[in-house]
């Protein structure tokens, strides 16, 4: 490959993924001829109904659950909101009005807990971004309604000891929810073996379209409705079903979980090549645990560089990536995840997340590794912060 040839490399699969051709094929009939409302009794409606049930069975199978335990939603955020708000609405009258979660959950979970008007405890994470199950245990109170700990972190990719945390919750008689939006397709999940009572997932992270998600939930723990109305989803989630999206999610999760060990082996090799080579650049650090890590996640901070300008520079090279910089989020604070593992604001601002997938080739990795160093050099050359860092070294 000549260094002048510009490529397009999508390395932001943790933000969203392209819809795979196979998934698109599966959903197309439901965007064209099969437009029946699943609640309708005639054949056209029944076809949609059957398609939803088939998708439900596929989602259930992918995580070792029963079809009756799967409820479709509009996104991972809705699943998280429903699990927390609906469980509190159900259990608060019984005196359970406390939530345990971690400091570095996705905002869909964290803001929900912070805004729900109930009491909560945020468990700290260590410098690697790992959660100590004993800290969860210590946070559980008499009146704890639910514990929610994310399966894998979306920014730094750390994978938590979920089975162990679930066990602790069950010993304490508390419901255990996990946000598995980033874990699905990257970690083998069995809700029974892992002591999971509720689990959130989202289609667009696994090559299904945006706008469809699901909540797995044991039948005895179904939260109070977030969305009331008609009898859809067993009267637990109203709204005419996003049939095409649901069918797509069913097919996508089937594909994503077909051979996880093979994917992990291949992709983590590319990931480690990226990490190893990027860390050769001076004044960089890897964020997140090197081993307990999503196979596609690379998160590295470059001192003296601001994340947004880094992303724009990479975009000019055809590389799509993301950052925990405040500047990319429109808020003033950099990523709460990066701060939670002890990064200073300065260092957090200079973070880069590359999230690769099964689509990523060895050549893509080479291209990224070719483009990053000059971009960093250029930005550092114009950075007064970098000047200061270098000056301090002398």
């Amino acid at each position: 490959m000549s260094s002048s040839e510009k490529r397009f490399i999508y390395a932001d699969n943790a933000a969203t993924t392209r819809i795979s051709a196979d998934v698109l094929d599966a959903m197309m009939p439901y965007l064209t001829t099969e437009y029946g409302n699943p609640s309708s009794i005639y054949a056209l409606g029944r076809n949609s109904g059957f398609a939803i049930e088939e998708a439900r069975a596929k989602v259930a199978k992918a995580i070792g659950a029963k079809p009756g335990e799967i409820f479709f939603t509009s996104c991972g955020s809705e699943s998280d909101n429903w699990a927390i708000k609906g469980t509190l609405a159900r259990l608060a009258p019984k005196g359970k009005r406390h939530v345990v979660t971690s400091v570095f959950e996705h905002h869909a979970l964290l803001h929900t807990v912070q805004n729900c008007g109930y009491d909560y405890t945020l468990v700290e994470v260590d410098e690697q971004g790992l959660i100590d199950p004993q800290k969860v245990k210590a946070a559980i109170r008499e009146d704890t309604a639910i514990v929610s700990i994310m399966f894998a972190n979306n920014e730094i990719g750390t994978i938590q000891p979920i089975a162990e945390i679930g066990k602790i919750c069950h010993e304490a008689g508390v419901i255990f929810h996990t946000d598995a939006v980033q874990a699905i397709g990257n970690v083998e999940i069995d809700v029974n073996e892992m002591n999971i009572d509720m689990l959130s997932l989202s289609g667009h992270k696994i090559h299904a379209p945006k706008g469809v998600g699901a909540l797995f939930c044991r039948r005895s723990m179904i939260p109070k409705n977030l969305i009331d109305g008609g009898g859809q989803e067993g009267a637990h989630r109203a709204g005419t079903e996003n049939v095409a999206g649901i069918v797509a999610l069913g097919r996508a999760i089937e594909l994503a979980t077909a051979d996880i060990p093979k994917k992990v082996a291949r992709v983590s090799k590319l990931r480690d090549k990226l990490i190893g080579n990027i860390l050769k650049i001076e004044h960089t650090r890897l964020n997140g645990d090197p081993v307990q890590r999503l196979c596609g996640n690379v998160n590295i901070s470059f001192e003296g560089v601001e994340g947004e300008s880094l992303l724009l520079s990479l975009d000019n090279e055809g590389i799509c990536a993301s950052s925990g910089s405040a500047c990319t989020s429109g808020s003033l604070d950099p990523s709460h995840v990066l701060l939670s593992i002890g990064l200073t604001h300065e260092v957090a601002h200079g973070s880069l997340r590359l999230s690769i997938s099964e689509d990523t080739s060895g050549e893509d990795v080479d291209y990224i590794l070719e483009k990053i160093p000059p971009v960093i050099s250029r930005l550092r050359a114009m950075s007064p912060l970098w000047e200061r860092i270098k000056a301090a070294e002398k």
């Binding site: 609640s39 309708s40 009794i41 409606g45 029944r46 109904g49 049930e53």
Partner: protein, 142 residues
């Protein structure tokens, strides 16, 4: 609403629809308020159900279970008819959605009601033989 092909077949081509003008037993169960009424006519000869006809006001499941139930008792003895359960009718139809099971209960009861009428016409107290045809349980919710 997920109906089996068999339910849809019995709905579209119901067997034994109609009346028997000189029936030996006629039974009507159900309640227009909740949306289902079933009426069964039986022709009985020597303890055997020689002919059976039904009329039903109700949903697809109500019509299909009526139709299937008449097929399952026609040519059979009274004893056999009395032992027919709604479960057997549902199984013969390859299942029914849960919300429709109450309609199949009605089919079982309609046959029992017709047999009660048959015994009454003979001057025999039906209770000990047919048992008490209770109210439809679902109706109590109304």
């Amino acid at each position: 609403m997920l109906y089996s092909d068999k339910v849809l077949d019995h709905f579209s081509n119901p067997r034994n629809v109609g009346e028997i003008p000189d029936a030996d037993g006629v039974g009507e169960v159900g309640n227009a308020k909740c949306g289902d009424i079933m009426k069964m006519y039986l022709k009985i000869n020597g303890g055997v159900i020689e002919d059976v006809k039904f009329k039903t006001f109700g949903c697809g499941a109500a019509i299909a279970t009526s139709s299937m139930a008449t097929e399952m008792v026609k040519g059979h003895t009274i004893e056999e008819a009395l032992s027919l359960t709604n479960k057997a009718v549902v199984e013969a139809l390859d299942g029914l959605p849960t919300s429709k099971i109450h309609c199949s209960v009605l089919a079982e009861q309609a046959i029992k009601a017709a047999l009660s009428d048959y015994y009454k016409k003979q001057g025999i107290d039906p209770e000990p033989i047919v048992g008490n045809i209770g109210e439809c349980e679902a109706c109590h919710d109304l």
